[in-house]
């Protein structure tokens, strides 16, 4: 039911972990639906230089988290904000229809981390 790319990212997830001094942290999901994603980013000169994640969830939740970290590294904040959940799913060669809603939240987690970064900048 999962593409090879999803299974690859599930088996060998990229950028798992935490960052000690993140510029921003974002978390989405809840235990009721069964997926929680937490994203850490480091921003230097408006560029996302490092990113890590921790995810509680199914194969799709882990794979999308991993994929979004690959997509965002080296991007500017503005570019990162344009990454959508749909784009993440497409980069994984698609997800089963049932997973498009419940487990495809990685871009949202990233955007929340960026919001957190921007809020800290503003204060």
């Amino acid at each position: 039911m999962y593409s090879e790319k999803v299974m690859d990212h599930f088996t060998n997830p990229r950028n798992v972990g935490e960052l000690e001094k993140p510029s921003g942290v974002g978390e989405v999901g809840n235990t009721t639906c069964g997926d929680i994603m937490r994203m850490y980013i480091v921003v230097k000169d408006d560029v996302i230089t490092d990113v890590k994640f921790k995810t509680f969830g199914c194969g799709a939740a882990i794979a999308t988290s991993s994929m979004v970290t690959e997509l965002v590294k080296g991007k500017t904040v503005e570019e990162a904000l344009k990454i959508t959940n749909k784009a993440v799913a497409e980069a994984l060669d698609g997800l089963p229809p049932a997973k498009m809603h419940c487990s495809n939240l990685a871009a949202d987690a990233l955007h929340k981390a960026i919001e957190d970064y921007q809020a800290k900048q503003a204060s």
Partner: protein, 400 residues
């Protein structure tokens, strides 16, 4: 890589002797059992022998067995048929919150058509209360349906006590025995049941085949109409490969029942103990002893069931989970919620159901790979990270 199949409550591999029997009825005795000529008579003989074998496992008379397409059809037939057969006497029905959907959805259908249904709750080990059951009976109660063994957590309900009450009160009693038939002793007379569902593919027979035991004297309307097959209860030319396969499978599990119960109980307890000793933050779901011999159901905190299943599958281990991701809905298993688990813990459940091909070496293998998988998934989990950061007491109270 070692292959370990631990999903016998989902389905079982077809026994080689069953395959041989089916093959004979496909190639040699392929006739229509209703035909008068020799190839028809040969088929008829096979049909009636299968009926005797299926009946013998539960102490029933052969004529009390109606062959069906499986558990779902039998449950529908018994519950919906039973309710309509007795509707002049009342409209109240009783079942439990932890039934299979074939039962729950039959009751939902009846509710839409004017029947009133009581769904009995269960305790944290999955048992109903017999007192609560007795109190739920009304003058208008006409039918009770209760599963013998729960398909997810393996808990065995006190069917004999319930049956004694329904018999005394003259209430029709149906038991879904899909997970107990051929696995633990089931005697329709001792249990006082009026109708009982069994399925072939859970006992090493073919899929698409099952039966409904209907006690002599109990009348229920037919859903389909046609010929005189199955005493007009279930007309249509018989599914001979399915039926003779079911018969052979029933014969074999009947012979092996006691030895398999003993063997599987030992393997189950070894697996459970091994997990308890090697992995922290777990919860054993279901009753410890009033439990199907081959059923292990454990929740692993901080991780999600589908990830666990995918990881196990990559190591050659086939199992199942009550996680929402594997149920096809947004909610985790209704059974796990009914025994009081939070969504998070229900999402992290793993069901391993053992069967005749499993060995001690299989269990050793699972005990080797499972802790590694749990550790890996926990290392990725923000919940586990939070647990490590917080006070121990606060974090453990859900689990114990």
């Amino acid at each position: 890589m070692r292959k370990v199949y631990l999903d016998h409550s989902a389905t079982t591999p077809v026994h080689s002797e069953v395959v041989k029997t089916i093959n004979y009825y496909l190639t040699e005795a392929w006739g229509n059992p209703s035909s008068i000529h020799s190839v028809g008579r040969r088929a008829k003989k096979g049909l009636e022998e299968a009926r005797e074998k299926v009946a013998a496992v539960i102490g029933a008379k052969p004529e009390e067995i109606t062959f069906t397409s499986g558990g779902t059809e039998s449950d529908n037939m018994a519950i919906i048929g039973g309710a309509y057969a007795r509707q002049k006497k009342g409209n109240h029905l009783i079942t439990t919150q932890v039934e299979h959907h074939a039962v729950l959805d039959s009751f939902k259908n009846l509710e839409k058509n004017g029947f009133e249904v009581t769904y009995l709750p269960v305790d944290e080990e999955g048992l109903i209360s017999v007192d609560e059951f007795r109190e739920s009976i009304k003058d208008s109660t006409i039918l009770v349906s209760m599963m013998h063994v729960n398909n997810e957590i393996g808990t065995i309900q006190p069917i004999e006590e319930v049956g004694a009450i329904t018999k005394e009160k003259g209430i029709l009693f149906h038991v879904d025995a899909v997970q107990s038939y051929g696995k633990i002793p089931v005697d329709v007379n001792k249990l006082n049941v009026d109708m009982l569902t069994a399925s072939s593919h859970k006992i090493y027979g073919p899929k698409g085949s099952g039966c409904l035991y209907i006690r002599k004297g109990v009348r229920i309307p037919s859903f389909t109409h046609g010929g005189a097959q199955e005493k007009k209860r279930r007309p249509g030319t018989e599914n001979m490969p399915g039926i003779v396969g079911f018969g052979k499978a029933a014969e074999i599990v009947g012979q092996e029942l006691e030895s398999e119960m003993k063997r599987l109980t030992a393997l189950r307890d070894k697996l459970t103990k091994g997990i308890e000793e090697n992995i922290s933050d777990i919860r054993i779901n279901g009753h410890r002893t009033k439990r199907l011999p081959g059923n292990v159901n454990i929740s692993f905190r901080y991780i999600e069931g589908e990830s666990l299943l995918l990881s196990l599958d990559m190591k050659g281990v086939a199992a199942s989970s009550g996680s929402a991701c594997t149920s096809g809905s947004l909610d985790p298993s209704h059974v796990l919620l009914a025994i009081g688990l939070s969504h998070e813990i229900a999402h992290g459940s793993l069901r391993m159901t053992l069967g005749r091909d499993n060995t001690e070496e299989d269990i050793d293998y699972v005990l080797k790979v499972l802790p590694e998988i749990v550790t890996r998934l926990r290392s990725m989990s923000p919940l586990y990270q939070r647990k490590e950061a917080c006070q121990q007491k606060e974090c453990y109270e859900h689990v114990q």
